[in-house]
């Protein structure tokens, strides 16, 4: 970690409305390489809209989303040609949906799902693609023997791990996650969170994680934004925001968490 380092992502003055309803108002933040940022808030607070705007999936009404493109530095992703933006999205970025089925191709095997990005960027050696797929299955704690099974043959937690492997195979520098554990059983959640924590430490991949679960933020993120009604009401170090919340809404969120044991 170096103070002179350039941010990987810089968002400024980002606005997005749906008709008269404001989903994101004047959002600004920076994300540095290897850093994990949690965006928390209740349903309808605009966190998923924010995620889609910075992930190149939804064009903001105003503001800039600059990303440190390899070789050319910080560039506004919404000023790029569509081809460049799509290339970024399938090489240097990952996107993990809440429901793994939205990210996986149900008609092809686990190996093909993981190998897809490699083929999209030009890999043309079946054996090499297969080897990488099997390697990634092992890294996300899936049995590589099951490489030829369809995603539907895997449990929900396994599908999400498959989805993560599918995203990480091109070694992205930034992964967007939308409630990555919300659709999973609690016991499965813990395993996935631990896996994400290890992968992020090992690969030094930065991430923006949208979640309503403060425990997920505490475990994974160094920093967090608290959103309400399309506005960031508080931001800072995760432990600072959770242990010494300043804004009434953050205090409400923190004190509303049921603590088991």
């Amino acid at each position: 970690m170096n103070a002179g380092e350039q941010p990987l992502l810089r968002v400024a003055g980002l606005n997005r409305s749906y008709g008269s309803r404001v989903a994101c108002a004047d959002i600004a933040f920076e994300l540095y390489p290897g850093e994990i940022l949690a965006v928390v808030g209740e349903s309808g607070s605009g966190k998923t809209t924010l995620l889609n705007c910075i992930a190149g999936r939804l064009r903001p009404d105003r503001g800039s989303v600059e990303y440190d493109i390899r070789d050319s530095g910080l560039r506004d992703i919404w000023q790029l040609a569509e081809a460049e933006r799509r290339m970024l999205a399938r090489t240097d970025w990952g996107y993990v949906q809440q429901n793994p089925r939205d990210g996986l191709r149900a008609a092809v095997s686990a190996g093909a799902n993981i190998g897809e990005r490699l083929m999209l960027v030009g890999a043309r050696h079946y054996g090499a693609i297969r080897e990488q797929s099997a390697g990634w299955m092992a890294r996300v704690e899936l049995d590589a023997e099951r490489i030829d099974e369809l995603p539907t043959a895997f449990s929900g937690g396994m599908q999400q791990r498959l989805n993560i492997a599918r995203n990480l195979v091109t070694h992205p520098r930034l992964v967007f996650m939308d409630e990555p554990t919300a659709s999973l059983d609690v016991s499965v959640q813990a395993r996935l969170l631990d896996l994400l924590r290890n992968l992020s430490a090992e690969l030094q991949v930065a991430a923006v994680i949208v979640t309503h679960d403060l425990a997920v933020a505490r475990l994974l993120a160094q920093r967090m934004l608290v959103m309400r009604g399309g506005v960031v009401v508080e931001d800072g170090l995760t432990d600072q925001v959770l242990d010494d919340p300043q804004h009434p809404y953050t205090q409400l969120l923190v004190t509303s968490v049921l603590r088991a044991a």
Partner: protein, 291 residues
């Protein structure tokens, strides 16, 4: 010129033929690109070659000699009907001989006899979009074509190898035209794919139900997709044609009785007849093949 009374030459009205010709010109200019066109109602149902017929009707002239094949054969119902239809609405000469024809409309085969300069091969296409199998959103597949993002096609080939040990697709095998557009060659056997590559003939493709036309101009590169360690290969048979003895042509399996008897014959009926007329005969008899 003898055409059926009350019809334009070639059945379609002049405005429609003009519209289709414009689509064809664009298709030739952008090899492999699917050009939308205003497909018309034809006097036979979709799936029976309405796309091919409209293309044929738009390019056919009084001096043309027309051949129509279905699965390589000139005498199947579909081929006979379409040949008879054009004979009635244009009065052009028809033929079963590949070498004599100037226009060949085909379903599911490319003739074995190499095509020549000046010939036009017109394919009937059921489904023009190769990527639909994995990406059902039309807007997305069009974007993929626009940006030449074709990695998804290899996902399908990967899956074939993963499930079957080899690329199991035997027909409708994906190709890249002129190193740019991914193209669905219509359900011809992959055996015929190499014949498309740098063919002297103009190849036109018509999809009537889906209202798309595409083309491969003469001498254009057509490459079948594959993996470095699983290269593209065409089918081979242990048997030869039971009628003409050919070992180089695409063979159909014919069931000869209800006790498991079968034989293989050329799918291209014109090619087989030419060989027999030239005195070729099978090295083994049909009964030996079935044994």
């Amino acid at each position: 010129m003898t055409t059926a009374a009350g019809y334009n030459f070639g059945y379609l009205d002049e405005q429609t033929k003009r519209m289709i010709r414009r689509a064809l010109l664009k298709a030739v200019a952008i090899p492999g690109y699917q050009v939308p066109f205003g497909s018309r109602e034809m006097p036979l149902p979709y799936g029976w070659g309405t796309g091919g017929i409209q293309v044929t009707a738009a390019v056919i002239g009084a001096e043309d000699v027309l051949k129509v094949i279905d699965q390589g054969s000139d005498d199947t119902t579909n081929a006979v009907n379409i040949r008879r239809f054009f004979a009635r609405v244009t009065g052009v000469r028809t033929t079963e001989r590949t070498t004599e024809a100037t226009l060949i409309q085909t379903r599911h085969r490319i003739p074995e006899t190499p095509l020549k300069d000046g010939q036009i091969l017109i394919y009937q296409v059921p489904i023009p979009e190769m990527l639909r199998w994995l990406e059902p959103r039309e807007a997305e597949t069009r974007t993929m074509h626009a940006l030449a993002e074709y990695g998804l096609m290899h996902v399908r080939l990967y899956e074939d190898i993963a499930q079957h040990g080899h690329i199991a697709a035997t027909y409708d095998y994906p190709v890249v035209v002129n190193e740019r557009y991914l193209m669905r060659p219509s359900p011809i056997p992959k055996f015929d794919n190499p014949k498309m590559h740098r063919s002297p003939a103009l190849q036109l493709f018509g999809a009537g139900r889906e209202k798309r036309i595409y083309a491969v101009p003469p001498y254009t590169a057509v490459r079948s997709l594959d993996f470095e360690d699983h290269p593209f290969e065409v089918q081979r048979w242990d048997a030869c044609c039971a009628l003409c003895g050919s070992r180089d042509s695409f063979l159909d399996e014919v069931i000869t009785d209800d006790r498991g008897g079968r034989m293989f014959t050329c799918s291209d009926s014109d090619y087989c007849r030419n060989r027999r007329e030239a005195g070729h005969a099978p090295a083994v008899t049909a009964s030996e093949v079935s044994a």
